[in-house]
Structures are given as C-alpha cells and as structure tokens.
Amino acid sequence: MIIKRTLDPKGSCLLLLLVVSNLLLCQGVEDYAPYCKNQPGNCRIPLQSLFERATLVASNNYRLAREMFNEFNKQYGEGKNFTSKVINSCHTEFMTTPNNKEAAANTEDEALFRLVISLLHSWDEPLHQAVTELLHRNGASPDILARAKEIEDKAKVLLEGVEMIQKRVHPGEKKNEPYPVWSEKSSLTADDEDVRQTAFYRMFHCLHRDSSKISTYINLLKCRFTPC
C-alpha cells in the first residue's frame, strides 16, 4: 500500500505562523528562572512569586465580582431598592474581620490567613449553587453566568495558593477553621421572581464585598512578607 504524503498549503502556513509567533513571543517575555523544571528533590517557588500570583488572582476575582454585580444591578435593579433589603444580611456578616487599617494592622498574620481561607471556603457552596441556578434559568444573562463560573474556578485556585503560602510561612499544625454556611438556596431557586432576584442581588453584593476583603488581606500579608 502506498501512502501518499502531501503537505497542505494550510499546514505549511500554520507552521510558518507558529515559528514566527514563537520568535516574537520569545523576544517579549521576561526571563523567568526555571523554577522546579527538571530539578530533582525540593523545589521551592519563591514566596514573592507565590504572593504575586495570589494577589493577581484575588484582584481578578474582585474585578469579576464587581462587574457581575454592576451588570445585575443594571438589568434588574432599576427602580427597585434592593440595597435596603440586603443590608446587613450577608452570611459572612458575623465573621469578625478588621474594618479599617488600624484594626487590620493589628491583626496577626495567622488570623489573616485564617480569615482568607474561611472566606474562600464559605463561598464555595453559594457560587456553585448560583452557577447551577443560572444554567437552568432561560433568561439568565450569559455574561453573568460566565463570570460566576470563572469566579468559582478561580476561588478554588486561590484557596490552594493561600494554603500553600500559609504552609510556607506558618508550617505547623493545620487547623480546620469553621466557616459560615450559606443557607439561602431556597430563596435562590424560588419561583417568585422578586424573591429570586433579591436573593441573587444579595449574593452578588456580598460576593463583591468579600472579594474585596480577600484581595486586601492577601495584599496586606504580601506586604508583610515581601517588600511593597
């Protein structure tokens, strides 16, 4: 059997494009030290690098939450005074978190780490429920759904990173910190549109705030362990 070997013009173009793009990319990218590449034994990513990644992810999550909240408010919040309804009703409200710079400066690192990890844990479930509900709803905005999905994914990544940092910075026994449980699933999936919309508004509002907290706390921790 004779196999004909032909090269499409498309294939050669693609290859050319690949080579060129590779060259261009190589020009612009900084030179990273090859951390943990082909290195046996202990491989430690620098703490500063870990913190930088964590702050990036947290900052990105914060931006996504803000955009999601703004879009929902624009779509459904016109004329309705949701804010007054959702005041003081976040499920993470009862966590004692520092609310100004002095209080935060006085909070220990471990406490801050615990707070961050608790917050991230507590948002696992609500985000998952929100995504599920948005998928099932026909009239849901695709932008909101996409952002919710991304936040859900990135929150898990951030949690891993913060736990890794905590392990690096505070190697010791692990304590499983309790975290607030979210229990508004029934409101989120209610048939009554008002009830449902209020539930979503509350969720997005609380997520926005908690994302800001997480981002600020991680940055605080970063500036404590690395030069800012």
């Binding site: 032909t6 090269l7 050669s12 290859l15 050319l16 080579v19 060129v20 060259l23 020009q27 900052s59 914060y62 931006r63 803000r66 804010t83 007054s84 005041i87 003081n88 409200e93 978190t97 609310n99 100004n100 710079k101 002095e102 935060a104 400066a105 705030r209 800001s212 907290k213 981002s215 600020t216 940055n219 605080l220 921790l221 970063k222 500036c223 404590r224 800012c228």
Partner: protein, 581 residues
C-alpha cells in the same frame, strides 16, 4: 372657657401661618446628597446640595447610621470638607460596612430630610494625584539612553502596608504635538522611556487609581528638554528582523523543496497545446490514416462546387426566339470561343443605353459548328465610331446552305454592333431579322458622325469582309462593299429577328433601307430596299432627312427634297436603348 382657649390657640396659629404665608416663608426644600469620596480608604467626606431655604435661615444636619447598628450618629465634622460637607475621620470610618446617610434642613418653618444615601467606603475611593514627579535623562554606557521618570504615591494612601492597592498612568508628548503617549504601570513608582526625539521639549503627566475606585486628577505638567545630540539608534531590532527573514526564507525553501513541482504548476500553469477543433488526436496515435482523413473530410473539406458558380458566368444560348436589338441579360462568356450567337454586353453599360445595344442575331444550333468561320476578329472588322463608340461589324458569311448568322463582337466597353448582312441562301428558316441599319442610322445620325470616318470604316469593313469571307458569292460581297450596313427585307434573308418577341412590330411589313451614300455634310442617304437584288442599288428615293422623332425611338425620315425622294420608314420597335449618351 377651655373651648375659648382652644379656639384662640387655633386662631393664633392660623394667624401666624397667614402672616408667614403673606411674608413668603416656608419650610426648607429637601436637600440632596451629591457625593462622598475617600482619598485613601481611611477617611471620607460627603457633600450635599441645599435646596431652597424658604426665606428663613436654615440649618443643615447630617445624620447617619451604620449597617447592623441602630444608633444614629451625627456628622462629626462639618468644616474640614468645606461648606455643606461632612468629614468622617479615621475614627469614624469603617470599610466593608454600609453607611446610611441623611441630610436634614431645618428652619423655623420645618424640617426637610434628604433621601438616604447608601455608601460603602470601599467603593468611593478617589486618590490624590501622585506627588514628586521627577524627570531625568540617563546616558549609560553600552546601553541605550533613556528618560527616567520617577514619582511617589499620593498623600493619604498607605501603599506600603498594602492597605491601598494602586495603579499609575503616565502620559508624555512633545510640546507641540497633539496626541499623548500613555504608559500604564501597576504599582511601580518609576518608568524608563526610550526612543525620544532629540531636540524636543517633552511634557509629562501622571495620575493614579485604586484597584477599585476613581481615577485621580492629572498631576501638573513637568517638562524636560531633550538635547540635540541625544543618540537614538538601536541595532538590536534590525538583528531581529534579519533573523526572522532568514527563518522565513528557510521555511519557504523547505516548502518549495517538498512540493516544488505542484507550486510551480500553480504559479506558472503549462501552456495548453494546440488543438484542432473536432479532431481526435488519438486517431493519429493509432496510426489509422483513413479514419483521420475521414474525420477531416467530414468537416466540409474539400470545398464544394459552389465556388465555381461564383467564378464563372454561364452563357445561355437560346434558340432564335428572342429578338435582339438590345443587349440581353444573359451571361456572356467571351472565353469559350465566340459562338455565333452571343450577346455582347458591356460590363457597365446597362440595357438602357443606346450605346451598347448588342444587336444579336441569335444563334441556332448549326452555326455552332462553324464557330471559326463566323468568328469575326475584332480588330480589323470593327467599325468604330469614335464619338459614339459604336461598332459595326461585318460578319463573314458563308454561302453554304447553313444558316449564317451575322454575329458580332463587342469591340470595347461600349460598342454596338451591327450585324452584317448574310447571304440570302441560308436555309435556316428561323432566323430573325434585324433592322440593324436603322440602328446604325440613328446612332450615326444622332451622334453626328463625320462622313469621312464612316467612309473609312466602311471601306475598312468591306475590305475586312473580303478577307474573311470564304466562298461567298460575289454578290454578297458586292453588296457589302456598297452598302456597309445593310439589311435585307426579305423574309428569306438571313437576318435573324426575334419575330416572336417583338412587341412593337408594326403591321406593315418591314422595309429595309440601305445606305446609299453619305453626303459631304455627313448626311446619310437612305434608300428603301424593295427587292432582293443585290445588284446595284437602285437609284430610287433617297431618304436623308429626319422629319421627326416619335416616341419609342422611331425616327421618321423624309426624302430630302433637295436631293432624293424620301421614304417614310418605320423601324421595328425594339428595345434599343432610348438615349444616346
């Protein structure tokens, strides 16, 4: 009494109201909270807009309560932020907590409260512009020169502890340019600018923004002058370009090597070979020439015989039936041997011209056998009238029993011919007769031929006839000598006439005339021919004067009273061309 007191109070109140209304005083209008801003997430200020004061001095108070608290507080500082403002210090500022703020306007008439404003300090951050903007030109060795821009974070922002997350934006432009060149830097407080134009003065501005909040105002412009000798060159870019093009060439060479032929055919398609339409090349390959030729033949090759029709004109020979005093429309073929009966047609003279009547004596079958005898050579026999271009021909005639037909040849483009008289002994009964002499007369008379020319031609013709004539009777010869153009009236004479087709033949028998002589004036003297004798012409009446010309070309001759008797002659109607040129 009590009722009186109550009513009095009411009355006074009403009076008071009336008085105030009359004065134009009213409770203050509702104030409006405009905005609240925090410069560094540590303090914040709120501003409001007062409404109409109702004509009375109005006090404004700001009250608030925090999320999760029920206690209502009043603004701690009305002054720091300016008029109509409330400044919240660090002590009174909590972030991630909602503030519900209300402004109240109070005057003597009443209190008006604004709509509550829900404020979370985290979201109302608007920093000051960055401070200490410095510009410096650097010329390091072995490296490119650059502009080094440095600045420091704005006041009231704690970036160092990490509490405030900040981003910067720098813009610069040459002084006279219109568009700014902007650079975005997260966190860092310095920037290096390369590729500046020497000799230009640059303006630089900077602003900042928290991770969530509002942009600050642009800082005041800083300027720096780039000296003229500022080097700008950079060779690393060219090295990169050279490497890239080398790589591209290598890839192309490789692609060509792999698929060279197909690419070449794509770019330069092969020129298609010649193709004969309807021709099957495979026939050639097989070597079957017969089929090949058959294929060729099937396409109208060789050409059919239609071409011949175009090349040649066929001559129609008719059977003594048609009268000929005019050229016939039949085709003439001068090449195929002159048949006795042919019609001389000018190529360009139509039938309508008198010039070229071809007086055709038609040919029957017999004379065809003797084409040579009857053939009249053109040259010497032709009597040509130089003016009218007429030709009289003398047809040689044989004295044999065959029907002799005078025939003639056209001498030139325009010629008419006169048939020569034929011997009467011809036994072909179907000859038609021409009154050719009349035509001659007409032609000559109208044209005004000179006698001399006619004489000469006459004699010449006579001579010529002698030479050609073979075995003719002497009488005929004589007659010719004397007559020239003559014709015989007899039916037995050999002048063929289209008896059948002569439409205008008169009832009278045709009479023929003979030219007796030509006087010196050029006048023809005609004698009617009344007998068959070929002898000497009788000196009978001589017609030499034209009386009139009737229609249809009938010339009426009268005897000249001076000279001879005249005879009325009627010419047979003919189809001769009516007009002389």
């Amino acid at each position: 009494m009590k009722e009186n007191a109550a009513s009095r109070v009411v009355f006074i109140l009403l009076l008071f109201l009336n008085v105030s209304l009359l004065n134009g005083q009213s409770p203050p209008e509702k104030p409006k909270l405009v905005k609240c801003r925090s410069p560094g997430k540590e303090t914040f200020t709120c501003w409001w807009e007062p409404g109409a004061d109702g004509g009375l001095p109005t006090n404004y108070t700001l009250t608030y309560h925090k999320e999760g608290e029920t206690l209502i507080h009043e603004c701690p500082d009305y002054k720091t932020g300016g008029p109509n403002s409330c400044y919240f210090s660090k002590k009174h500022t909590s972030i991630w907590k909602m503030y519900v703020i209300t402004v109240n306007a109070i005057n003597q008439m009443g209190i008006s409260s604004s709509d509550p404003l829900y404020v979370d300090v985290t979201y109302i951050v608007e920093p000051e512009p960055p401070a200490n903007l410095t510009l410096e030109l650097k010329h390091p060795e072995d490296r490119k020169p650059y502009l080094w821009i440095k600045w420091s974070p704005p006041t009231m922002t704690d970036v160092k502890s990490g509490w405030f997350i900040i981003q910067y934006e720098i813009r610069l432009k040459p002084e006279k340019a219109t568009d700014w060149e902007t650079h975005f830097t997260p966190k860092q407080t310095q920037l290096k600018i390369f590729n500046l134009y020497p000799g230009q003065k640059y303006l630089v501005q900077i602003r900042c923004k928290p991770d969530h909040g509002y942009w600050s105002e642009w800082s005041p412009e800083s300027s720096i002058q780039i000296p003229n000798d500022f080097p700008v060159k950079d060779t690393s870019m060219w090295i990169f370009v050279a490497i890239l093009s080398a790589v591209i060439c290598l890839i192309m060479v490789w692609a060509v090597a792999l698929k060279g032929y197909s690419m070449v055919t794509c770019i330069l398609p092969p020129v298609p070979g010649p193709k004969i339409k309807g021709f099957d090349v495979h026939l050639l390959e097989k070597g079957k020439s017969e089929e090949l030729l058959r294929a060729l033949e099937s396409q109208d090759f060789p050409p059919t015989s239609d071409c011949e029709d175009l090349l040649m004109e066929f001559i129609e020979v008719d059977d003594c039936e048609d009268q000929q005093l005019m050229p016939r429309p039949s085709k003439e073929h001068t090449e195929q041997g002159v048949k006795p009966m042919h019609l001389d047609l000018d190529s360009d003279s139509g039938r309508g011209s008198f010039d070229s009547p071809s007086l055709l004596s038609e040919k029957c079958d017999e004379p065809q056998a003797h084409p040579s005898k009857f053939h009249t050579p053109e040259g010497p026999e032709k009597l040509e009238n130089p003016e009218t271009n007429l030709t009289c021909l003398q047809a040689p005639q044989s004295t044999s029993g065959e029907g002799k037909i005078p025939y003639f040849l056209a001498n030139g483009p325009k010629s008419s011919t006169w048939p020569f008289p034929q011997p009467p002994s011809l036994h072909s009964p179907r000859y038609s007769y021409h009154n050719i002499a009349d035509v001659c007369e007409l032609a000559l008379g109208m044209a005004g031929t000179t006698a001399t020319s006619l004489d000469q031609t006459d004699q010449h013709a006579l001579k010529a006839s002698k030479t050609i004539e073979t075995g003719r009777e002497g009488k005929a010869t004589k007659q010719r000598e004397s007559e020239g153009c003559s014709s015989k009236p007899d039916q037995d004479t050999v002048w063929p006439l289209p008896q059948d087709k002569t439409p205008l033949i008169s009832a009278k028998p045709l009479e023929y005339v003979e030219i007796h002589k030509v006087s010196q004036d050029g006048v023809l003297a005609l004698f009617p021919k009344q007998n068959e004798k070929f002898g000497a012409p009788e000196a009978s009446k001589e017609y030499s004067k034209v009386s009139r010309v009737t229609d249809s070309n009938i010339l009426v001759l009268v005897p000249d009273p001076q000279a001879q008797n005249l005879t009325l002659l009627e010419e047979p109607a003919k189809k001769a061309p009516p007009a002389l040129p």
